[in-house]
Symmetry: C2
Subunit: 238 residues, 2 copies
DNA sequence: CGTCGACTTGAGGACCCTCAACTCCAGTGG
DNA sequence: CCACTGGAGTTGAGGGTCCTCAAGTCGACG
C-alpha cells in the first residue's frame, strides 16, 4: 500500500505525467493468482482496480442456486473494475494461472484526473467495455447456439497471443464457455462436435482448436457486419 | 450550433463551473421528436449527445433481416451516447413523443474536462450504464419468460413518473418489450395473460398495467437480491 | 491400473418460436 | 350511423431448439 504510493510519487517526479494507463500500473508489484482463485467479490467495497498482466480472468455473477453468468473474459492489458463503483458489480476469478497488478481506486482516480493524456484513454476504455456489453446482449438475445459459438471463437481469435496460424488456444473450460454464451455445457459440446463434423474446426485436446477457416466462422457468427458493409442496412439516408 | 456555443460561454462567465450534467444541457433548446422517429443512427459519426427531457427513447441494433435487439430504454434525465465513441453503437428512436436537448460531443467533453464536479458524475453515469448492461446480460442468459417480464415491470415501476400507486404506465408496445427481453411478441402477450390469470397484474388498455403486488413481482423476477441480503451468497468470507 | 474430473453423446421433454386465425380498437370514408 | 380497413394484440396448434438427466468416454495423475 505504502510502497505503491511511493512508487507513484517517484514516477511523477521523475517522468512527469503518465502517458498511458498501462504505465501507471507498472510500479505496482505483480501478484500471482492461481487458476480458479478469486480476485475480488461481487458486492464488496471496490477499493482496488486490477490490471491483467498474464492469463485470462472471468467476470461473473451468481444468481440463485447454481446459476452463473459470465459477463466478460479479460485478457492481458484489460482492467478489472474500470467502471469505478462503490462495490464490485461482479466476482473476478482467474481462468488459468494469472499475473495481475493492483492499484487503489483513489490513486487511479487521481492519476486520471491529473493527466490530460489518461482521461481520453480511460473514457475510450469504458466505451470499449460498453461496446462489448452491447455485442454480448445481441448474442444472448438473437443468436442460436452455433452462431454464439462461432462468435466466441472469432472473438478469441482476435487476441494475437491466443491465435497461432490455424491453432487457437482456448484457456477456458466448457462450463466457462457455456456460462458466457448462455448455453449449457452439453450444448457447447454438441455444437463443437457438429462444427467438427462439418470440418469447420476440430478440437485438439481440451484447450485448443484447429480452425479451418476464420472467414467461414465469421460468416456463421451471425454478425452482419462481418461480410457486409455496415452502411448498407440504412440505405441512402442523409 | 452557434447559439449553443454562446449559451455555453455565457453560463461559464456568469455562473462559473457547472455543478451537474443536467445543467449543462439547460441552455440547448428542446427539440421535439415524434413517436417512432430516429434521433441518431448506429454507425454514424457521433457528433452529438442527447439528453432525454420528456418521453421514452429506445436504443436498438438491427442484425440481419428482421432481427432487432433493444439494448436499453432511456427516460427523462438519461443521456444518449454518454459512452463517447467515434460512431454511435446503436440507433436511438423515440418510443413515444419525446423532447430532447442536444449538445456537441466536443463541448460536452470540454465541460466535463473542465469541471471537477462533473467528472465524477459522468463516471458514475457510465458505471450506471454498465451496471444496467450487466443486469440485462443476466436476464438474457438465465431467466425464463416470466422472470424476464416481471423484472421488466419491476424496473419500470422504479420510475416515479410511470408508477402511480398500483397503476403502471408502459409507454412501449409489445414488440418493443419483446425485442428488449429477447422474446417474441406472442410470448410476451401470453406471459402477461398468464400473470393476469394468476391475479398478479392485469392489463388496462394497451399501455397500462394494474399491479396487484410489486413485492410478489419482485419475487417472481428471479433477482436473488430482491428478497435476500446480497451478502448471504458469499457465506462468511471476510 | 484405478480414480476422478472434464468432456461427450444419447434420449426425452420443456419452453419458447413459428405460423395462422381471431379479436379489439382507432381511424376513414361512404 | 355503420361498414371497412389496418395495425396492435391475443390465442391456439404444432414444431424446433436447447435443456435435463443419465450413461459413457477420454485423459491426467497418483
Amino acid at each position: 500500500m505504502l510502497m505503491q504510493k511511493t512508487a507513484s510519487f517517484e514516477r511523477n517526479t521523475i517522468v512527469g505525467e503518465a502517458v498511458s494507463l498501462s504505465e501507471i500500473f507498472q510500479y505496482s508489484p505483480t501478484e500471482t493468482i492461481a487458476s480458479g482463485k478469486t480476485i475480488c467479490w461481487e458486492g464488496d467495497a471496490a477499493n482496488h482496480l486490477f490490471q491483467v498482466v498474464e492469463g485470462v480472468v472471468r467476470l461473473q455473477r451468481i444468481i440463485g442456486e447454481g446459476r452463473r453468468v459470465i459477463t466478460a473474459f479479460l485478457f492481458p492489458g484489460d482492467l478489472v473494475g474500470a467502471a469505478l463503483q462503490a462495490t464490485y458489480l461482479f466476482t473476478a476469478e482467474a481462468v488459468n494461472d494469472c499475473k495481475i497488478r493492483r492499484m487503489s481506486c483513489k490513486t487511479f482516480h487521481e492519476e486520471v484526473s491529473r493527466s490530460e493524456n489518461l482521461r481520453p484513454e480511460y473514457i475510450a476504455l469504458l466505451s470499449q467495455e460498453m461496446a462489448s456489453a452491447h455485442e454480448q446482449m445481441v448474442l444472448l438475445s438473437k443468436k442460436n447456439a452455433e452462431e454464439r459459438l462461432c462468435s466466441f471463437v472469432v472473438r478469441l481469435s482476435e487476441r494475437p497471443h491466443l491465435a497461432k496460424e490455424d491453432m487457437l488456444s482456448v484457456p477456458m473450460n466448457r462450463q466457462d464457455i457455456a456460462d458466457y454464451l448462455g448455453l449449457t455445457i452439453e450444448t457447447v459440446s454438441r455444437t463443437i462436435s457438429k462444427l467438427a463434423s462439418r470440418k469447420i474446426l476440430s478440437p485438439v485436446g481440451r484447450h485448443d482448436l484447429k480452425v479451418a477457416s476464420y472467414e467461414r466462422l465469421a460468416r456463421l457468427s451471425g454478425n452482419t457486419d462481418d461480410f457486409f458493409d455496415k452502411t448498407c442496412d440504412r440505405g441512402s439516408l442523409h
